[in-house]
């Protein structure tokens, strides 16, 4: 049964727009006619905390959380968090990762180093991992805040969903004054991935 369900895991750091990105994905999937379920945990002062959002879609979805080892795609907004959640990905799954380091407090206070060589480590298990500079691409779209839409654009290359549903979802979910920037960011991610 689970073979008919696609599982997308989005991971990042509080404040990066990971949850909004997962809402855009869910909306695009709904408009494309899929059953979709989404789950994440929020509520503590999560600024700077680890954030993970599960999105599952298919003809009919049961559990809103992705069973361990069954994620098809991991969309990572930050390197350390991307690496942390690799065990949820299935063997041969796809990784799309933002080339960005955000220090956890234990690192910024000098008590532990930020782990080195994370991109290489991810590539060891997932050789065709897509790495992109989301912040740089978002800057060229007009705002560093649109990095999450860049990543959605990169994700869109991995999923067989018509472009019009992605755009409709962005139009519905993105702040109206930043709509053009977000559309541009989406295409930069889509073409860059």
């Amino acid at each position: 049964m689970s073979s008919t369900i696609i599982n997308v895991l989005m991971v990042g750091v509080g404040g990066q727009g990971t949850l909004l990105a997962s809402e855009i994905l869910s909306e695009a999937l709904k408009q494309a006619g899929f059953d979709v379920k989404k789950s994440e945990i929020h509520g503590m002062s999560q600024r700077g905390g680890s954030v993970v959002s599960h999105v599952r879609f298919g003809k009919e979805v049961q559990s809103p959380i992705i069973p361990e080892g069954e994620a098809d795609i991991l969309l990572g907004f930050e390197l350390l968090e991307s690496y942390r959640y690799l065990p949820l990905l299935k063997k041969g799954g796809k990784v799309v990762v933002n080339d960005l380091k955000i220090n956890p407090s234990i690192v910024s206070t000098g008590r532990e180093p930020y782990p080195a060589g994370l991109v290489d480590k991810i590539r060891e298990s997932f050789p065709d991992c897509v790495v992109l500079d989301g912040v740089e691409l978002a800057n060229s779209a007009g705002s560093p805040k649109a990095a999450n839409t860049v990543l959605i654009g990169a994700l869109s290359k991995q999923l067989d969903i018509d472009e019009k549903f992605w755009l409709a979802a962005i139009e519905k979910m993105a702040p109206s004054k930043a709509l053009e920037i977000n559309k541009k960011a989406f295409y930069l991610g889509r073409n860059g991935a």
């Binding site: 929020h42 069973p67 968090e81 690496y83 782990p115």
Partner: protein
Amino acid sequence: MKEILSGNEAIARGAFEAGVKVASAYPGTPSTEILENIIQYKDIDASWAPNEKVALEVGIGASFGGGRALVTMKHVGVNVAADPLFTLSYTGVNGGLVLVSADDPEMHSSQNEQDNRNYAKFAKVPMLESADSQECKDFTKLAFAISEQFDTPVMLRTTTRTSHGKSIVTLEEPVAGLPVPKLTRNAAKFVMLPSNARVRHPFIEERTLKLQQYANTLTINRMELRDRSIGVITSGIPYQYVREVLPEASVLKLGMVYPLPDKLIREFAGKVEKLYIVEELDPFIEEQVKAMGVEVIGKEIIPICGELTPGILRKAFKLPEPARSRVDILPGRPPNMCPGCPHRGIFYTLNQLKAYVMGDIGCYTLGFLPPLSAMDTCVCMGAGIGNAIGITKVLSTEEQKKVVAVIGDSTFLHSGITGLLDMVYNNVPATVIILDNRITAMTGRQENPASGFTLVGDETFKVDLPQLVRSLGVKNVRIVDPLNIDETKQVLQEEMERPEPSVVITRRPCVLIKREGVYENGAGVKVDIELCAGCKACLKLGCPAIIWQADGKKGKAFIDPQLCTGCNVCEQVCKLNAIEAKK
């Protein structure tokens, strides 16, 4: 029309479709967004109450007047509201009343993981439990119908996964033709003095029996017969995990978890070879089914502690697990007080003073984490003050001086006032620090009676905390700016020394409130690397904006301009004047 809604959004929608007149709550994760979403339905009078007991009492009043009322809270909130709840069970309702208990298995943002299904049985009220957003909406409406049909409050239980998970919901129009609220005198039903209450107790026992009969016919309790070799009784979110992991198993999916449909359970048990119960937390269904004499396997294989996952079920049923990649041990990324948080200065000072801090529930509970490490206890909302009173009573005069209670503005109004009243009444020489950041910050910045705004954003009377505290009898009331480290330290030292009750109010808005100008120096601060000697004094603040840059044996501090808010606390703790305001 179909929308993707969270469980909380769906409950708000369900309340609207059910014609609810009044909604009241105290914010608490994972329940908070129900009221935040209900305000889009203008016909519903929605408000934040100072605590859950008051919220329920408001709901009871609306119900007695004939209006439908929704009251929402997190699991531990029901402890606060338990007093009126148990007697409401006796009085019953006039307009329907639904109490949402949003439970938090795994304690994602809670101090315990109590299973509030036990409350339904204890208070003798029916409980529905929803498994996704569509059910959140449908069950809310059904709960109001049951409430009026059986003259009872109805509890609707969600868990974090249903509250915050999103799925597709079909929207409908609101019901029409509900009675118009009006004053109804019915003292025999609404006045619970002993002679009236004695009459009501047999009524509720009979009501439970009728509800049990009804549960046997209720379509939300449904048998899904597939392979008969395994049968599973389950409810709520675990139902989804069962369907995921055991797609061929027969399932008895319970939408009403109290009272249980006894006939349906026996019938199901007779149809399957081996019967299991899959439920999160307590063996609530299991104990009742076992008491019926039905043989089941439950907590023998399903853990009691923590949230279930499909993976845990896979292990419990000895199913093969997929191959997974392994990763190295990594630095954790716990939540942290925000850059510029006004609580940072006070906890830094308490750490410096080696105070014994009786804590409370709020963002400031993070003051427990290193490097601030300045919280020694934390039990429940309001407990810090009572705890400080109790510990002071058993300590030597010298040790008493170390004791302080910390409590937020919203928490103080929730359940701190009575504790402080006790402290003054019994003349206990402890120090209470009220961290007034003008908002209920932890749950996502909700308004409260000290913020000056209502749930819907209208300006309202703003409680005067110093005046309130003085009126309780506190003679020594000091107000400090927690960003001024020297002043804060001096005032705290004086008040901790004082052999009388005292209150220190730290006044500075949460950095995330937009409406108040927070810092004059919006430009932030920077480190003069010539002057920085790498002493790491600034790192003791645990500010996310201050980053240690190791460089061989020595290192230097660097301030991330993206994160720095310019609160200037680090400037004050740097003895070498290496941190300065940006021009």
